[in-house]
């Protein structure tokens, strides 16, 4: 299996991860009025997981093809 196909599959996996994170029912778990470090939980969860997803995609795409 060559690298670009593996990269594509990893991206697809990240897509599925994103679908899971950004939708019911995971979303509902955090849909409560509580806070982490003064940030509303839902807000923190969405932005946190969004950022994590972007970091993962960046790591995946910017790896040197060596």
């Amino acid at each position: 299996m060559n690298r670009s196909s593996l990269t594509a599959q990893r991206l697809a996996a990240l897509f599925l991860l994103g679908c899971a994170l950004f939708d019911y029912p995971l979303l509902a778990l955090f849909n409560r009025s509580s806070e982490v470090f003064g940030i509303p939980l839902l807000y923190a969860f969405l932005f946190g997981s969004w950022f994590a997803l972007i970091v993962l995609m960046a790591l995946l795409m910017e790896r040197r093809e060596d």
């Binding site: 849909n31 940030i39 509303p40």
Partner: protein, 910 residues
Amino acid sequence: MLQQGWVIAAVSFAYLGVLFAIAYYADRRADRGRSLIANPTVYALSLAVYCTTWTFYGSVGRAAATGIGFLPIYLGPTLMLALGWFFLHKIVRVAKANRITSIADFVASRYGKSQLLGGLVTVIAVIGVVPYIALQLKAVSNSFTILLNYPAIVMPASGGAVPLWQDSALYVAVILATFTILFGTRHLDATERHEGMVAAIAFESVVKLVAFIAVGVFVTFGIYDGFADVFDRAEAVPRLAKLLVTADTAASYGSWSALTFLSMLSVLLLPRQFQIAVVENVNAAHVRRAVWLFPLYLFLINIFVLPIALGGMLGFPSGVDADTFVLTLPMAHRQEALALLVFIGGLSAATGMVIVETIALSTMVCNDLVMPVLLRWRSLGLAARRDLSGLLLAIRRWAIAAILMLGYVYFRAAGEAYALVGIGLISFAAVAQFAPAVIGGLYWQGGTREGALAGLLAGFGVWAYTLLLPSFAKSGWLPDDFMTQGLFGIALLRPQQLLGLTGLDEISHCMIWSLLANIGCYLAVSLRRAPNAREARQATLFVDVARGHPGLAGWRGGARVADLLPLAARCLGPEKARAAFARHAQSRGIEFVEQLPADADLVHFAESLLAGAIGSASAHAMVASVVQEEPLGLEEVMSILDEASQLRTHSRELEVKSRELEKATAELRAANERLRELDRMKDDFISTVTHELRTPLTSIRAFSEMLHDDPKLALSERERFLGIIVGETERLSRLINQILDLAKLESGRAEWRTAEVDLGEVARESVTSFSQICRDKGIAIDLQLPAQPVLVLADRDRLIQVMLNLLANAVKFVAPATGRVEVRLRVTHQEVGVEVADNGPGIRPEERETIFEKFRQGGQDVMTDKPQGTGLGLPISRQIVEYFGGRLWAESVPGQGARFIFTLPLPDRR
């Protein structure tokens, strides 16, 4: 200073001037071959044209109304970019391979270069997107008006309330139209790419991000004390606290999912997104960085949305529109410079969207709507026009102006009505209708032109009925009884509770029904027939793009340079066309353009060259008008069929041949096996013969030496030894005779004296010659003969030889004293059988045939000592009997003796 309108206007024009300078510089760089935008970061930034004023001002407004509900619009694109390696990358490669100029061109080209399909996509795109352009006009004009009243916070009057000549939106529209025309249609590019524009858009993306983050930082950290402070204060207000969670209902999550899905599709299918992401893409590998950088951009521009919304709602009385918070918050805190920066940021968001969207739409209108119509009117003499490039540019410029004016008219008519507020999503839902045709077309070869047409029409129809018409009704343009009572009073036809489906917001409702109708019709109609040759060809080009160019299969016929060059010159201008042809000639290793062969390759080149300028469907029609692409005639079809059937015949023959070959191989193997067996037998034979010869020789020699060495040997001894020597010598000569005999028989060189022989007499004579030996050994011998003679045609001596052999065997194996041998002659009406039976040990079943082989003697482990004889008697006998047309075989029950039987045919009695 902001009170003076001219200051704001001057800053705005200065900004536009900077944009233009950037674009000009980028174009110059591109002409010199040092492209400014051939950079993955620039590509990712230019994708941020996705963020319009709807994001810049509208996100805050949406957050103020729905809390976190603004987010799916940006989460969707993140997910789509994660799939970018599949979708976007593939679309870019397809578009590059086919010189696609717009999304209408993409769909038209995929389904067999259908002008009708291209036209339909264009119409849907224009209807869907014009209101979105109106939204940009409104945003710029409102922000200008608000800024003009600085430091007072005054909401602008409704659009229709001011006279036309005082309406800033009109001037915005005119300025934007002029700017876009200057920007996008300075010259007609063969590839329909606008390097300068892309550079400017990337710059604008930076400007709007910086402006928005500046406001965000100012509000969060300037007005308040960080994120936690803003949220804490919001928590204290019940009205705001409920924005921090979403309604925990199925409908709420459903609409969240629908928005995510919708924005996923929009980020690719909006005409401006397609233009930037696909048409303007310099290198497909740039997608790699965009996959994460564009989502990161969206992330950054959204971080401060909720703090600004909450800050605005905490700080302002309810009269201030949340859509303006981004601008009014800095104004309220007397931040002139920041307010101006925000205005410029908003302007950049609007201009970016308007420029790219109108250029994309004007390309579509020109290539897929106007040109096909003009080309059809051949009587207009269009084909005779020497230079069409001027006409093409004029069409595009008018299209840009017309689209912006349409946008303005829509804005003017809709005013502050509902129709503008939700229009972003309504546009998204309109372009989502392209999804089945585009995505289906990329991965499924079976889609047909009619299928795509039916799907688009159905989806567009449902969209218009469930989303567009209700928005008109809510604006008061239509009576709203069809909303409440349904069309013709039929409750099931209520546009936003279609067939009684309730509990969904209008966007989810529209998405479900329109995509259901769209996909359903696309599949059902596509499956009514197999794709025709042209659709199949295009399908292969699109679906199997990874396999590279499939060649020009299907292209038949050619055209001369003399026909094609003027055609290209008409659309591109003579110099550009000639240069492109020269490059093509060079790439094929031909020195002069005129020497290019008139083949399918040239036609393909010319068509794709034209496609870059006027779209694939129009290019196909135009080239076809001079080329006359020959359709496949009956003869060609027959020859193709012939070839196919010949192939099939050949393969069948091959199959037969290989089967024969297999058989021959098996036969050869058997023959080889047999040969080896024979070889082995020959070796055995020789070694047996020499062994057989040596035994008597050894004894002869031994006795001779004894006689020779010992002169005093008694006479009686001498006589005994001499007797043995004589006997052994006889045996030796018998053996040699038999070997010679067998060799003669086998080689067919034996002499036969065939005559009428009485078999009874032969038997009697043979038995007689054995009677003495039998008597000596005490063996009973019994002969039973018929009364009359039995005459056969044979060699008498040979028959005696057979009889003697059989009798010798019998006598040899029976025990002395109790032994008994019987010879019987039996005559049937066709043959005579001679039977020699004994009461010896018999023959084991496995030996019954082998004893007829040379030197194989039976009963070798039955008898203690080696049987006497040569082992050649039976083979010789069988040869003799078979020579006269008879058979010789043995029958035996072990322990009860053996019977040797031979038969000979009786001569015909005539």
